[in-house]
Amino acid sequence: MKQLTYSIAFAALCLLLAGAAFAATHGLPITIEHGWVRWLPANLPAAGYATIRNDSDQPVKLTGAESSDYGMAMLHRSMQKNGKDTMAMVGALSIPAHGEVKLAPGGYHLMLMDAKHPIRPGDTVHVSLHFEDGKTLQATWPVRPANASGE
């Protein structure tokens, strides 16, 4: 009887571990690559950029962001409207199935405001990207100089 209890416990543990592995590999099939932040002086709002890849069969929605280094992180988009350069908040951004979306200069970007401590080029900052269903991905991005010409 005792033997059986151990067997059940072992089976349960296996299931749990299998479940955890499943969550890690299939729960969030998203990767964040080439992330960076363009530094600006005078504690001005900075912009964060990255490529977000979705390797699943379903589109995934980026719904928000936060950073332990900034008071506020918001998804924004630059665009031209009536001959003017303008910037607007974006509620959610869909990453297509087996596709990617680039947060890149002149388009989608994370607006990072109210730095909690002095941030300089060469530092790294921590960013959390929130996806629908409450899933979150952490990333660490390098801070580059204002005149960095990265894409």
Binding site: P41, L44, A47, P105, G106, M113, A146
Partner: protein, 205 residues
């Protein structure tokens, strides 16, 4: 003999005339040499009375003899203004020694936040040859209107922040302050601006 002369001299001569006429015709229909939009004679000369990022009054007279690239923007602009200023910084690098003849003007359309001190930190982070300009809302409106550059200060958010929509045009003036070329910040490559500035500088020297 006459026929032979005709063949030997007249025909080649006629051919040469026809060829040169064709070449002239081709030249008069040659595409303009500029990669940006040529606006010579269509926009007013460089003129403004503003405050520079060093806190001193500045006018177009202070820039006579310099070629000028001008863009309207604001410092609480983390994406498109930096992108444009990086492009203009790259133009300066590509110009090499000619960059000494060129200045970049970054005219703020958000004077409430853009003090000379903030502007100075902002523009020098991109290139030491950028001059930040600010002033009273009226002084700025005069310059924006002169170059038909609409801007709009958007509604304040609950936290007091706001965004500003601003003109997307890069204006290029020659060393006499005449408006010569326009490019759109979103689709003009630094190489195109460098090409045209080199052409402009070459024509004058």
């Amino acid at each position: 003999m006459i026929v032979s002369n005709l063949r030997r001299f007249l025909l080649p001569a006629l051919g040469a005339v026809l060829l040169s006429t064709a070449l002239l015709a081709a030249c008069s229909h040659a595409p303009p040499p500029w990669q940006l939009n040529d606006v010579s004679g269509h926009l007013p000369d460089l003129q403004f009375h503003l405050t520079s990022d060093t806190g001193k009054p500045m006018s177009a007279a202070d820039l006579r003899g310099k070629y000028v690239m001008m863009y309207f923007g604001y410092t609480h602009c983390p994406d498109v203004c930096p992108l444009t200023l990086v492009h203009l910084h790259l133009v300066m690098q590509q110009l090499g020694t000619d960059a000494a003849k060129v200045r970049i003007l970054f005219v703020s359309v958000d004077p409430a936040r853009d003090t000379p001190q903030v502007l100075h930190q902002y523009v020098t982070a991109f290139d030491p040859r950028i001059v930040g300009l600010t002033g009273s809302p009226q002084e700025i409106a005069v310059v924006a209107k002169r170059y038909r550059s609409a801007f709009n200060i958007d509604e304040k958010q609950a936290d007091g922040t706001y965004t500003v929509s601003h003109g997307s045009i890069i204006y290029i003036f020659d060393r006499d302050g005449h408006a010569r070329l326009l490019g759109n910040s979103s689709d003009i490559k630094p190489e195109a601006i460098t090409h045209d500035l080199k052409l402009l500088i070459g024509q004058d020297s």
